[in-house]
Symmetry: C2
Subunit: 397 residues, 2 copies
Amino acid sequence: MLTISNRGKMMPPSPIRKLVPYAEAAKKKGTTVYHLNIGQPDIETPKMVLDAVRNSDFTVLEYSHSAGNESYRKKLVKYYASVGIFVDHTQIIITTGGSEAILFGFMTCLDAGDEVIIPEPFYANYNGFAVAADVKVVPITSRIETGFALPPIEDFEKVITPRTKAIVMCNPNNPTGYSYSEAEMQQLKDLLVKHNLYLFADEAYREFTYEGNQFSAMHLKGVDDHVILMDTISKRYSACGGRIGALVTKNKQVLDAAMKFAQARLSPPSFAQIAGEAAIDLPADYFDTTKAEYKSRRDLIVKRLNAMNGVFCPNPGGAFYAMAKLPIDDSDTFCQWLLESFEYKGATVMLAPATGFYGTPGLGKQEVRLAYVLNLAAIDAAMDCLEEALKVYPGRK
Amino acid sequence: MLTISNRGKMMPPSPIRKLVPYAEAAKKKGTTVYHLNIGQPDIETPKMVLDAVRNSDFTVLEYSHSAGNESYRKKLVKYYASVGIFVDHTQIIITTGGSEAILFGFMTCLDAGDEVIIPEPFYANYNGFAVAADVKVVPITSRIETGFALPPIEDFEKVITPRTKAIVMCNPNNPTGYSYSEAEMQQLKDLLVKHNLYLFADEAYREFTYEGNQFSAMHLKGVDDHVILMDTISKRYSACGGRIGALVTKNKQVLDAAMKFAQARLSPPSFAQIAGEAAIDLPADYFDTTKAEYKSRRDLIVKRLNAMNGVFCPNPGGAFYAMAKLPIDDSDTFCQWLLESFEYKGATVMLAPATGFYGTPGLGKQEVRLAYVLNLAAIDAAMDCLEEALKVYPGRK
């Protein structure tokens, strides 16, 4: 009999997308579904970014350089300098979304059976790339009581083995919204040096830091060879469908090897590279407006959540996610129940159960992730739904 | 010390791109370089395909469905029916280029250490995806004397082991241009059934078959679960930079598992999906013009090559590649010499040494691949260069 591979079997399904059929059924019944479950912003992609593609005048949609267009990489050098990251264009490989930057990083630095430490809860798709690369994810737990701050360094030390090769840090964090401080990043730096580890720095949400500026892993001194930045334009410019990201590092060996993976897949998408390049020319105040919008949404959602009986939501410092602890038995059951069996004023809300973001089985059963990617009125209405739902949910605890 | 992974070390560099620095140096000296080394067609992307993107009016560049836009997949069903391939839209996963379809196929069907048989010479990037998936490529040799026809089935039988899980067939073939006959495909079918193997069918060049129609692996009866089609719009519509392909199969288990890999990387590029969808509406005679152009180029290049003293070039039935045997000592040395030390009337020609397309070390030293992606006048001039070069090359044999 033909069988699929073990990795095909082990590959986790998307924890966010598994509720989609229930949402579709709810909509078919006529119920409005407020989507707070997925990081697809409603913010418009800047017109000049889309126009750059629409006004392009080439006649052959050619392969680009495998590392991406040189003109784009040279412009990115300026963008990175503007956030205190000093690299040259040969230290940047344009990837197909941040996703491919993660895959290239894993493939280039880790062998089958190697281990990578990731503070949990974490972006669920790291699991997928780990299965693809046959790498073991070792979670260490950050806790809602501390707002998901960096776990104590001793917790990292405890799980380090001879197979440990890297740490993944998402900063600001998806799913928690936590923004790691400079002090926390310096602690990590010492760990990198002591144990000779790579730091994969996923900084997709760099601009969305609401108190002060993000401290990038690329700002750390003396660990140039350790740090591999995995970046994307998806959230920054509300351009998720472009599938344009970047792997950035000063480690020449890693660049050379990642480049071979880049050559095998020929090139990143040409249209969206034009969009990414145009985005660098957005006016300096572009992020102010977007950030102000996200911040007011955050303030509203956190306030509404903490005003609900039995709910706790730490104030996230960045990204556009909040994690809340709810008085419920099981977040998977609850999120499905919201779509299947509940409505309030003709509407309900779709949330992401936190269980999918934990590597340790059993954790996250009382937590949900809320992506504040809807406008204030919609968030308010969604919070009305959630508040009412918690009053009547049969599994309330 | 920080080290990169073994797979990072083993990953082969692109055999086609390694000569690029020599070509750049030649151009800096003022020499015209005729690029017959790479499958980037000069044919214009159809205007209506580019216009579909340029005239799009969405305001948010969103993620698409992980399997690609449903509207596109439904249109592809019609395209496939037009070439005698009958599938529904749930049997199609849109991928980021044919490259990702290959990667998903390998990841889904093969585990680390599994073996895949590929007739050589073969598309060099299969090696890259095999390293990424930690899969062993087992080459069996097809020969220039037979025009690179399917090797005898006994040659396949000889290398089959308990770890053999699949065969990769590129039809029409890159790099040989050979178009496999229905009889050859039927022989392969029996092998699939007998040894319970997958057939990965790379049919990127389906439309470019110059005598009769391509016989698709999807036309084989009774092996629906065995066949996985890896497709792309890159060559078909001269849209290489779009990075849009497809994995197509009737095997539900494979689809379900591949879908999990697709979800992990979120979605294929949105802009180029619009292009791909528009391409299905091209007039029925679109391929006639393109095919006629490629055919006249093929006829010219094959005639010119065979008229050269000591050169043999079998007439390729499809794709836009020809493989020629030259009276030389070493194709890598020769191709580099063409760029470094030769010019004729201010020009030289860039070819791909065939060594990079063979899995067996030592093969291909007297062969080169020529991609006929330039117009007739340029091909003629390039052949003038090659003819003169062979007269004066110090390593002539």
